[in-house]
Amino acid sequence: MAEIEALIKALSGHGVDEKTVISILGNSQPEHRQAFRKEGGFFAEDERRFERWNDHHVKLLKHEFMRFKNAVVLWAMHPWERDARLIKEALKKGPNSNSVIVEIASTRSSDELLGARKAYHSLFEHSIEEDVASHIHGKEKKLLVALVSAYRYEGPKIKEDVAKSEAKALISAVKNAEKQNPIENDEVVRILSTRSKPHLKSVFKHYKEIAGQHFEDELDVHLILQAAVQCLITPQSYFSRVLDEAMRDGADKNTKKGLTRVLVTRADVDIRAISDDYRNHYAIPLADKIEAKAKGSYKEFLLTLMARGS
């Protein structure tokens, strides 16, 4: 039935289309609701002959209803508290969320990252460095600890000859990938975690010139390492990729959160540039994609953030 389809649609995706739910479900008679329970996959036939809510689905629904509230709370937060909480959450969620730590450490300005580290002290009575160092194991650990500890020089001055020789060091690390994963290579970690961003842009420009291809296209490069490089030198591309992955059908719970995180954390910074990059890459304006995939108050909120001041 058209109405059941519409109701299912209103409850799937990012956020909940409250108006549709109110008008369809709110106006429904018992037999309509029973028809809804028999379709849709939100319910299952219990052995005692009633259609039972699928527990897992109730949980998913809870997340969808909370998406708007989470976005609002995150938006109102001081950026330092925001970043500190995002990092804490990523640490709790485990290795699949390590990219969030990379994202925050690498795309913020030096003072923003510093602020996040101070806020983390207040909120959690530990330093980010100590929590990352003690909770993360595996190859990414070295790089992650180094990235969250950085206080990069932010001036424009770069030394081309140093950049060139550091590009060569990276090439050598990639060539040696069989013996040691580049993400654990001391020189790679040093260069990526201490050099200024303008300097790094120059390093990777030289990389492409000497090696013949982009660092991110090298096969043996760990995904986290790729993410770090992208975040450091082309953050807008990185963010538009995160947005696209978040809005893909079948995206998992954590990936979906990227939509809120990117919109809220970049709305005051470079959401226009990200939006342009998104349109160039994915052939559809970001606002249109959000209009299609997000629902209800959550959608209105995100679109409002994007449209401010335009």
């Binding site: 330093s127 460095e129 003690s134 500890s149 950085a150 206080y151 050099r195």
Partner: protein, 284 residues
């Protein structure tokens, strides 16, 4: 406690004029320089520098650099800078040496509070257009690099909370590492370079309770430092005169059976000697 003896009331304009007079003409009245600068707090010194700039359109620091020389000049230069600038200069000098002075870096990184270390990092960027960790990383390799870069980069939590269970487990890790003489052990570096100072104290105390010896003794024996040299003497006295030099003097006397003043008198001479002794609190 500080050893610096400084008057509560002073006119920075009078001081600036007196310093100008001391530097004017042939030669310099070093005694006057010492008697003024050696008895002023950091805040007072900055006011004098400002007053001098306003009166004579010249940076007092540059003037003193051209008038003084040798170890005395170095000491005064260090003294007159703001603490954060001073430590940035010390760090840069230490790094750029043919054989980098690692213990200077360690000292700067470990003695300061997290906010003070941050101020040093900012001052470093301002002066050298590079971050401190960049320079340290580029001039060191291997395990030393791991340790030093982490030490200068960390923003330690500065609260008093400690976790006793964590102190025990990390004391065990340190004990294991020391038994196996593995000082480059990743976990040792992690603990030393990320934990808060309060937590580290708890861990070291636990270590001492479990193993009977102090961990600092072991570390000192393992990292054989260079003997006292002029730079080190200047550095310690100049940077601590306003903070805890009194305590350091007491400990020095306990450990070496001679006072720090006697040691300074023995190893230094002339104006340099006089300046250091002034900072040590010797009455004129």
């Amino acid at each position: 406690m500080a050893t610096l003896v400084a008057p509560v009331q002073h006119s920075h304009i009078e001081d600036a004029k007196a310093l100008y007079k001391a530097c004017k003409g042939w030669g310099t009245d070093e005694k006057a320089v010492i008697s003024i600068l050696g008895h002023r707090t950091a805040a007072q010194r900055q006011q004098i520098r400002l007053a001098y700039q306003n009166l004579y359109q010249e940076d007092l620091v540059k003037r003193l650099e051209s008038e003084l020389s040798g170890a005395f000049e170095k000491a005064v230069y260090r003294w007159i800078l703001e603490p954060a600038d001073r430590d940035a200069v010390l760090a840069n000098v230490a790094i750029k040496k043919a054989c980098p002075d690692y213990h200077v870096i360690i000292e700067i990184a470990c003695v300061h509070s997290p906010e003070e270390l941050l101020a040093v990092r900012r001052a470093y960027q301002l002066s050298y257009k590079l971050s401190l960790e960049e320079d340290v990383a580029a001039h060191t390799t291997g395990d030393l690099r791991k340790l030093l870069v982490a030490l200068v980069s960390v923003l330690r939590y500065d609260g008093p909370e400690i976790n006793a269970r964590l102190a025990k487990s990390e004391a065990d890790i340190l004990e294991d590492a020391i038994k196996n003489k593995a000082f480059n052990h990743e976990e040792v570096i992690r603990i030393l370079t990320t934990r808060s100072k309060a937590q580290l104290m708890a861990t070291f105390n636990r270590y001492r309770d479990d193993c009977g010896t102090s961990i600092t003794k072991i570390i000192r024996n393992a990292i054989k430092g260079a003997g006292t040299d002029e730079d080190a003497l200047t550095r310690v006295i100049v940077t601590r005169a306003e903070k805890d030099l009194k305590v350091i003097k007491e400990v020095y006397y306990k450990r070496n059976s001679v006072t720090l003043e006697q040691a300074v008198a023995k190893d230094t001479s002339g104006d340099y000697n006089a300046f250091l002794l002034t900072l040590l609190g010797k009455a004129d």
